[in-house]
Symmetry: C2
Subunit: 343 residues, 2 copies
DNA sequence: CTGAAAGCGCTTACAG
DNA sequence: CTGAAAGCGCTTACAG
């Protein structure tokens, strides 16, 4: 035997609060108070504790804090798996960046959970089990009762994107209605006469709100709002919807596509049909994804700031956890037209 | 005063293990054993406990489990913020889906942490503080010492994408070298004579490995490997690199672009220069993003399965946590050419 | 402003 | 196969 037997990994115990207390010459209570930023601590004691913490590289045991205290110091971001494929990756990643940015410096962890078809009960049990202080929910579909369930259980909850089936639960959303209306007005201002739209899925508010905005924009100009085709936020569905629209209205000269990712498919169809963009058909998208600027031609679109969405959701949730009152029931973030070559 | 004073939120205590024990007519120890799937429990007791758990909707308090036991039942996914912008969103979202898929059914939570410039020490303190059982690290840049630091601290760590500065730390990666070599060979087989490449950043293994693969593919055909331009995984950098290449070699008739997102920019430049794709210049990308198929023309590319990457990383980490031995030090996932119109 | 003590809800030897 | 008891590392009244 040349190999020594692996010694039983002596899991070196971490620095504990007690050691910090000893090093600082105070009691555990005082250290705890300093860590939690409580007011009644002498600056001398506070100073000593801070130094000891730094010197020892102390990091409080979260499990113990959670168990002893009443909060988990942890919030959950719940993503519906179904929705995550549809709403697509840039949305998800952007929101996440925003959430993290807002959480920076706060001692709050983010746990990520994907809700899968069929395990809703497990999810609700877990979330309501005191493991998290609050929940952020995104990419909801249809009348998903999840936010209502969580809110009813007394768990602070904020939804990203207006929830269709959860009246009363606070949410943050881009101002999809006005963004789409502005896009429609822009196309009208360009002198376009036959304007269609490729809308998002009927069971998501983001789809319906953008459709409503487009309708309003056209109605105000006394134009027809009959040219509607639906897609599901994939390039392929955008291509198919565009073909549908072209078949129904050969004289179509503009289209508002409710998502850049579908607009890419629409551009492909227009190209295949020999339609020049924007000469024959003007195209406006929505989202302003990174790839919008490299579409052929570069896509005119309505920008929404998804990172800001994540930040705002988190801010709203943390404010509620902090006990602030009279918080707004919902928040709408502004959108902005970005004019490029396609319209 | 018409409003009643808000009653102090009577935080309804959750079902506890003790109540389950009482309902099942056994001791707390036995309930704990059942929950943790330990072997020495009579099937009768096991059955009673399971029923009680279901009936009471019991969800164990993770904080208590963590504190009492030695594991956190939690792993971290660490994303370098800098890297996350570069590697782009689809990568991140795909990996995350894979991680979640692999974690499904296991009672292990995923906490997400973004490492920001300057807070590395906090991050290391936290991770090594016993709050997580293991760490998944992605989108590393340069010689980032993080994985080495974590591994040295005895924390099981798996890196996604070959780490440049962490020899010895287990990693999972797409087989970038062979994928790129295959792309180069494919262009050669098409009869192309002057083949360039737009490579990724020099400080990321993914950039270097794809570049090496391309070089090898051309060398084997005794072709020049001088036409290299560098980008940073943005469409804009791809556009600029393409212009550079065209300036250096007007006779260029093919280009391997190390990422689809850069290929979009390259296509735009080629278009602007009046080059027809693939007639004048054949283009092959890498990744097979959703948008590759709606590029104009649809992009021939090398597919990597990022979701599989996430699953494999997680599997590798969980296997180590389970105490399995003789695990592979690294794992390379196969790539596959996807032929479309651009080459 | 400070400290001693109880308790959060589990897991884990230990004894049987 | 099972149970009584100690202990994980904090926070929080309570008393001073």
């Amino acid at each position: 035997m040349t190999d020594a037997v692996e010694p039983p990994k002596a899991r070196r115990p971490n620095t504990r609060l007690e050691e910090v207390a000893r090093a600082a010459g105070v009691s555990k209570s005082t250290v705890s108070r300093v860590i939690n930023g409580e007011p009644y601590v002498s600056s001398k004691a506070r100073e000593a504790v801070h130094q000891a913490i730094t010197r020892l590289g102390y990091s409080p045991n979260q499990a113990a804090r959670t168990l002893a205290g009443s909060r988990a110091n942890c919030i959950a971001l719940v993503v519906s798996e179904q929705g995550s494929r549809v709403l697509a990756d840039p949305f998800f990643a952007g929101v996440l960046r925003g959430v993290n940015a807002e959480l920076a410096g706060k001692r709050v962890q983010l746990v990520l959970m994907m809700s899968k078809e069929g395990d809703e009960q497990d999810l609700v049990n877990y979330l309501c089990g005191g493991h998290v202080d609050g929940v952020l929910v995104i990419s909801l579909h249809g009348q998903d009762p999840l936010p209502r369930t969580l809110a009813d259980a007394g768990l602070p909850t904020v939804v990203g994107g207006r929830p269709l089936g959860a009246g009363g639960v606070p949410y943050v959303d881009a101002d999809n209605f006005n963004g789409a209306m502005e896009a429609a007005r822009y196309l009208v201002s360009l002198g376009r006469k036959r304007i269609g739209t490729i809308a998002g899925p009927r069971d998501m508010a983001v789809g319906m709100d953008r459709l409503s905005g487009w309708k309003r924009g056209l109605s105000q100009a006394r134009m027809e709002t009959d040219l509607v085709a639906y897609g599901d936020f994939t390039p392929e569905s955008g291509a198919a919807a565009m073909a549908d629209l072209l078949g129904r209205a050969p004289d179509l000269d503009a289209v508002f596509v409710a998502a850049d990712i579908m607009a890419l498919g629409a551009l492909q169809t227009l190209h295949a049909h020999g339609k020049r963009v924007p000469h024959d058909v003007a195209v406006v998208g929505f989202d302003d994804l990174m790839i919008a600027s490299t579409a052929v031609p570069p896509l005119t679109t309505v920008r929404q700031d998804v990172e800001q969405l994540g930040r705002t959701m988190t801010w709203r949730l943390m404010a509620e956890l902090a006990g602030e009152e009279n918080l707004p029931p919902f928040l709408l973030l502004p959108t902005a037209m970005v004019t490029r070559a396609s319209a």
